[in-house]
Structure formats: C-alpha cells, structure tokens
C-alpha cells in the first residue's frame, strides 16, 4: 500500500531536464520528490546522443569518461550532391562537443539530484493533475501499479516529448504537422565513419530534417533520420528514407544494426506559456528543443536549473502563483528564446531551399575560410559566387 505524500516540489520525469530541475530546487533548500515511470533512469535511450558542451559548467555538470564516447572536433554538413561544409569548433562557437552514452549521462544527473537530497521514486507514473480552487496542487499517480496522491506547493512537468502533464495543465503544447519530425535511428557497428566529426546530410534524403551520423568510436555510430511530418506521404517513411540512404552509402551499408530507436522531435517556434498557478513545464515537454539542430539536452538542462531555483524561491515565499512563477518564464526566455526563434526561422528557410540551391550554397562556402559562421558571412560568400541565389536576401547583405 503506497501512502499519499506531501512535498515542496514535485518533478515528473527523471530525464536531464527533470533531474536538473530537481537538483537545483533541492540545492536551493526545497524538499523535492522526483517520479519516474520507468524502472531504470536513462533507459531505453531515445536520442542521437550528440550534444554541445560549453553549457555543462553553467548547470554544474562535470564531464566524465563514464558517459562520453567521443569528443568531436566539428560538424560536417553534406549538401544533396554531397558537397561538404565543415564547421569546426571556432566557427560554431563551441556548438559541437560530445557523443555520449545517454543512459550514463541521465544516470549521472539523477545521481547528482539524489546527492543533493532529492527523493527519487521509480516505477511511478503521474495519472492526472489535482486542482484546488483553480490552482494545481499535485498529481494522482501510480507506484508499482498502486494509486496514490502526491501534493506539492510546486508541480513541474518534465515528462519529455510525449508529455501529457503539460496538456493536463492546460498549457499550449500542441504541435502542427510542420512542427514535428518523425525520427528513427540505428546503432550500427562495422561502419567507416570519421570520429572527428558529427555528420549531417540535408536535402531530399530527409525532407524537412536530416540524416545524422554520430560516431561512438571503434567503428560504432548512431545513424539516424528525422523527417518533417508535413512532408510524409505514407506510413513508416522515416524508416524507408533511412534504409534508402544507408543502402546508397557503402561505408554504412556494410554495417550491422545492433539497436533501433525512434521518437518524435518538436521543431516549432517557442511556445507562448510554460507556467500556470502551481505549475511549470520544462525541457522537451515545454517544446524547448532547438528547431534547427533537434537538440534538446542543453536547453532542457539550462531551463531546468532556472526552473529548480524559481521553484525553491516560490516555496520559501509561500507563493506559487502564476505571477510569482513568471520569474522562470522570463528567466528561460532571456537565456534561450532569441536563439530558439532565430534557429526556427533558419530552419524554415532551409526547408524551403531546393536541392539545387542548397548545393550552390554549400559549394560557394566550400574552401572559403569564414572567420565566423554567421548568416551575414554565409550570404556574402554565396553572393560572390552565385549572386542569383541570394537575390531574395539582399536586404541582409
């Protein structure tokens, strides 16, 4: 028999955003309970496992060989005719970084949360929101199949892409067809990939998304694809496109698949609201995934730290109203929103390019040593070689 319980802060979901939120709420003096529906934090992995690294210090994570497979030097963008644009660390402003073991990474963050005093409950799923006088005061849940209630001054939804908690709370997280990529990935062994780079193949090989190859060392790599839902014409196209791409690339066609994961990735503009009375939403659940790269870990962790700190402040102030929680709403937007919006615009533009135009852009940049990879510098380089391509962007030149 599971007893009902009461806490200061309740975090639903023990992924990176949840563990980070829980850790910082506990470090800021709140009693924190974090629930996770699975039996094992971090598993099964649903991720390409590539991530940038410059933000880790900001959220208090120490890089560890326990979860880093490979530290890459840069990224390579392959145009439809496979002209290559190399982006090294200097160009990308530390945007590139590690290929990780996500289960190990998630466990590390959960360990950090546990060491900060967070109570972690496994096999515990939220089943509904509890409201009193219009404000959220906790959830109904099931632990090992048994129903019980958790009451909290602040409830936080960190339940990932498939978040239901955010929608129960009435926050605007619904996606249109164009706002989401359907993703599939194989972990493959015996492939010939360059461990110095994360590779991205764009164009009609993956409409509205890309094919990725993230090296894990020793001939092992994550080979995956994202395809925009609005461009999908028949079921299982993510798999069809990925298999077709692999078949055309001998370095990967000879590989052996040892694992397969799928999932959804949101590629939308920032949503309008992430807090309501007694409640905050964080990470993939709050659609904080970078719409250009599809990366969600860094943003989830950065927002998680802010979320945890604000939650603890709300507990101490005895005020978890929507107005008080605006500190989180404003905090994460100041830190992340401009880039999310800029990258959403860039993604919308990229999706509209024909393969031919895209080839020209990459061709114009090939061999050009750009000091910094800014939109302006890219347009200038393209304009020099293919002025007709940049006609519609002349305002930016």
């Amino acid at each position: 028999m599971v007893k009902d319980l009461t806490t200061d802060v309740l975090v639903i979901g023990a992924g990176p955003a949840g563990s980070m939120t829980a850790k910082w709420a506990a470090k800021s003096g709140a009693r924190v309970v974090m629930i996770e529906k699975r039996q094992e934090i971090g598993s099964p992995v649903r991720c390409g496992e590539g991530m940038s690294k410059e933000w880790l210090k900001e959220v208090g994570v120490t890089p560890s060989s326990r979860w880093i497979n490979v530290e890459v030097e840069g990224a390579r963008i392959f145009s439809p005719s496979e002209k290559v644009l190399e982006i090294n660390e200097k160009h990308a402003g530390n945007e590139v970084g590690y290929v990780v073991e996500r289960d190990g990474f998630d466990k590390q963050l959960a360990i950090d949360a546990g060491n900060a005093g967070v109570d972690v409950m496994l096999k515990t799923a939220a089943t509904g929101i509890v409201r009193e006088n219009g404000r959220i005061v906790g959830v109904t849940a099931k632990a090992f199949g048994e129903p019980f209630t958790i009451r909290a001054a602040v409830t936080i939804g960190a339940d990932g892409f498939e978040s239901q908690v955010g929608r129960w709370a009435g926050l605007p997280t619904n996606l249109q067809l164009r706002d989401m990529d359907s993703c599939l990935q194989y972990r493959m062994t015996n492939v010939d990939c360059d461990v110095r780079y994360c590779d991205f193949y764009l164009g009609k090989v993956a409409p509205g998304g890309y094919v990725w190859v993230f090296p894990k060392g020793d001939g092992l790599a994550n080979v995956g694809i994202g395809v925009q839902l609005s461009q999908i014409k028949s079921p299982a196209e993510a798999r069809t496109y990925l298999d077709a791409w692999i078949a055309k690339h001998p370095a990967y066609a000879k590989g052996k698949k040892i694992d397969m994961v799928g999932g959804g990735v949101s590629i939308c503009a920032p949503i309008k609201q992430t807090v309501t009375d007694g409640f905050m939403l964080v990470g993939d659940a709050a659609r904080m995934i970078d719409p250009l790269t599809g990366g969600g870990i860094a943003n989830g962790c950065i927002a998680g730290k802010i979320c945890g700190e604000v939650a603890a402040k709300a507990v101490h102030a005895g005020d978890a109203s929507k107005e008080f929680l605006q500190a989180y709403e404003k905090g994460w937007r100041v830190r992340l929103e401009e880039k999310l919006y800029r990258n959403w615009l860039a993604k919308e533009k990229l999706c509209s390019l024909s393969d031919e135009t895209f080839d020209k852009v990459v061709d114009a940049l090939e061999g050009v040593k750009l000091e910094k990879l800014t939109v302006h510098n890219i347009l200038k380089a393209v304009h020099t070689k293919y002025p007709e391509v940049t006609r519609e962007f002349e305002a930016f030149l």
Partner: protein, 63 residues
C-alpha cells in the same frame, strides 16, 4: 463505430517500438504509452491521422 474510420495501433511489439512519437503529437491527448503498451481512447479520437504520419515504423493504420 458509425461514421468513424477504424484506427489500429499495432502495439504488440511486432512493429511498435514504444517510442511515444504518436503520444506526443496527438492533438487530443488520447494516446497512452504505458511502458510496453500503447492504447488510445476510441471515443475521443477523431481519426485526424497525425499519429499515422508521426509513427516512424508504420505501426498505426487507418482504414
């Protein structure tokens, strides 16, 4: 059900990989993922078919 097409989620594991893509995209929040079981609420579902497109392995059919 009269007037509604039939929606079928193959969730026995022959096709479904329990990734949750359909759950996250369902505009009516009526698909549920419970570890190795996916169910949907027949009464709420409008057969909008967005989940059919979201599924990376083609485990959802409408006819």
């Amino acid at each position: 059900m009269a007037g509604k097409k039939s929606l079928h989620i193959e969730s026995s594991g022959q096709l479904c990989i329990y990734c949750g893509a359909c759950v996250g995209v369902c505009p009516l929040n009526c698909i549920y993922l419970d570890e190795t079981r996916i169910t949907f609420d027949e009464r709420i579902c409008t057969r909008c078919e967005i989940c059919v497109k979201a599924c990376p392995v083609g485990a959802i059919e409408i006819d």
